[in-house]
């Protein structure tokens, strides 16, 4: 579904990504783990068109999407839930969700979109209760649900998420991860970036480990969970903070 070949990207003269290649098959949940500053966010920004790549190729469902403008990629069916939620804080929950469906107005019409809105409210009942509340006044967990809900409203098949569990209490993290695995049951494909490596890998099919802008390890999620180096570097620390699923 998504195939990245040897992409390089960075900020100004700073090169961050060095020949990164990875792929995501339809129906998979794939997790990218890596330390702070490894380049995970940079990678997702490059794929989603927010950041220009300097070389390499990105293909989505067979189309070349290298350096496509971010707003066009969504209509092709690939959406990013950005790091740090980035909800429209001055707008209501409902407005945020409806904006997620921007690319579908012409294609699907209002009724289908309203139906999808109900689906999102079923997925996150807390958002339903807070429809008219300004997004900026939601709790961190609710904002993350809103960010995911907004992305889902686009109807995209591939959902990329940048650290959806960041800064959230374990109960909420658990809820978010549960939702992510439910997405797969609905036929969605997920590319996940996480620091919460154990929880993320345990719901994933495959994983990649990124270090200073390079993919250093990849394989089935179970293998990574058992890998000595991975355990030491990403799974060992503060086990208490990890969420058991």
């Amino acid at each position: 579904m998504l195939r990245i070949r040897n992409i390089e990207a960075g900020y100004g003269s700073i090169r961050v990504l060095r020949k990164v290649s990875l792929h995501v098959n339809p129906g998979e949940i794939v997790t990218i783990i890596g330390a702070n500053g490894a380049g995970k966010t940079t990678l997702l920004k490059a794929v989603s068109g927010l950041l220009k790549t300097t070389s390499g190729e990105i293909r989505f469902k067979g189309n070349d999407i290298t350096n496509i403008p971010a707003e066009r990629l969504v209509s092709l069916g690939c959406v990013l839930v950005p790091e740090g939620r980035q909800v429209f804080s001055t707008m209501t929950v409902k407005e945020n969700l409806m904006l997620g469906a921007t690319v579908r107005y012409r294609r699907d019409g209002k009724e289908t979109i309203e139906k999808d809105l109900e689906r999102i409210y079923n997925l996150f009942p807390r958002l339903a209760e807070r429809q008219g509340q300004l997004a900026g006044t939601l709790s961190g967990g609710e904002q993350q649900m809103l960010a995911i809900g907004r992305a889902l409203m686009s109807g995209a098949e591939l959902i990329m998420m940048d650290e959806p569990s960041m800064g959230l209490a374990p109960v909420i993290v658990k809820e978010i991860f549960k939702t992510i695995s439910e997405l797969r049951n609905e036929g969605k494909t997920v590319l996940l970036v996480e620091q919460n490596a154990r929880a993320a890998l345990s719901i994933s099919d495959r994983g990649y480990v990124i270090e200073t802008g390079r993919i250093v390890l990849q394989g089935p999620a179970e293998d990574l969970l058992e890998n000595r180096d991975v355990q030491r570097a990403y799974l060992g620390r503060d086990l208490d903070a990890e969420v058991e699923l």
Partner: protein, 296 residues
């Protein structure tokens, strides 16, 4: 002060206040989508007013106003597309300097086309001596036109931002440009739209005040200063606050002639501007974290 005089001052204050408010809202709309102050905002007012005067020689007044608003909107769009759209991540300073340059160019072009003559649109109803009596005060019907049309513009804009698809998309861009793009919103088009809207309301304001204040190639300059003061007074980016700010400034100016020579009238806005910038840079109604939250 007699009640008639009091209402006379109030009416004059409201008239100018609404015009300042509209200019300030023009500043806000562009500020919200781009983060810059468009110093050519006053030139939109001038263009609208001068174009309408010229067109009025060939066609009825309503048509002339409508056409001149449309033409000014097109000028706004062209301006954005030629000078801003293609810039790759420009700095705010660079864009502001471009708007200053554009304001000078537009003024020079206007001078070349229309000369230094002072002109005016005819009164929408009646003429300069017609007046209606409200609370004993004699008020020109044009004052009612200004207040009426400007209020409609304010309400219509609020409806546009709240209830229409493009209005919501513009607010989304103002709140978080990257997130808006990730939703599939074309942020560049929203910037163009913000220039078009600002140009349109500026031009309309220029038309409705023209019979009272007269029009000239450089009429935009003082209006831009007043509008800017009002935008800062209300807190940049906040349009309803701009209306309140505009009315406050308009009324202050109007009553000032009662206690000091009218030559000092224009100094009031500069004084307010400085006071606000010194003591409440987020504006009277501004939040503590001030410019962080932008809302139309």
């Amino acid at each position: 002060m007699s009640t008639e005089l009091f209402f006379q001052y109030i009416a004059a204050g409201l008239t100018y206040g609404f015009i300042y408010a509209i200019v300030a809202i023009g500043f806000n709309i562009i500020y919200n989508t781009t983060g810059i102050i468009n110093f050519a905002q006053g030139e939109f007012v001038m263009l609208g007013s001068m174009t309408a005067i010229t067109l009025n020689a060939f066609m009825p007044l309503p048509l002339a106003i409508l056409l001149s608003v449309l033409i000014t909107m097109i000028v706004g769009a062209i301006m954005e597309m030629l000078f801003f759209r293609w810039l790759e991540s420009p700095t705010v300073l660079r864009m502001i300097i471009i708007t200053i340059g554009l304001s000078i160019i537009i003024r020079e072009i206007a001078l070349a086309i229309w000369g230094e003559n002072v002109r005016a649109l005819p009164y929408f109803t009646g003429n300069e001596v017609t007046s209606v009596s409200i609370f004993g005060a004699h008020i020109s019907p044009q004052v009612l036109w200004v207040i009426g049309i400007c209020s409609i513009v304010v309400v219509a804009l609020q409806m546009f931002f709240k209830f229409t698809r493009y209005g919501r998309q513009m607010r989304a861009c103002a709140a978080n440009r990257e997130a808006a793009r990730l939703c599939g919103i074309n942020a560049k088009n929203m910037v163009t739209l913000s220039f078009v809207l600002s140009a349109g309301i500026g031009a309309l304001a220029g038309c409705v005040v023209s019979p009272i204040t007269y029009s000239q190639y450089n009429m935009g300059v003082p209006l831009a200063i007043k509008g800017f003061t009002v935008a800062i007074l209300g807190g940049l980016g906040n349009s309803m606050a701009a209306v309140a700010g505009g009315l406050v400034l308009g009324i202050l100016e109007s009553f000032s002639v009662w206690i000091m020579p009218s030559a000092y009238k224009d100094a009031i806005s500069i004084a307010i501007l400085l006071l606000i910038l010194f003591f409440r840079p987020g504006g009277l109604f501004g939040r503590k974290e001030e410019l962080a939250l932008k809302e139309f």
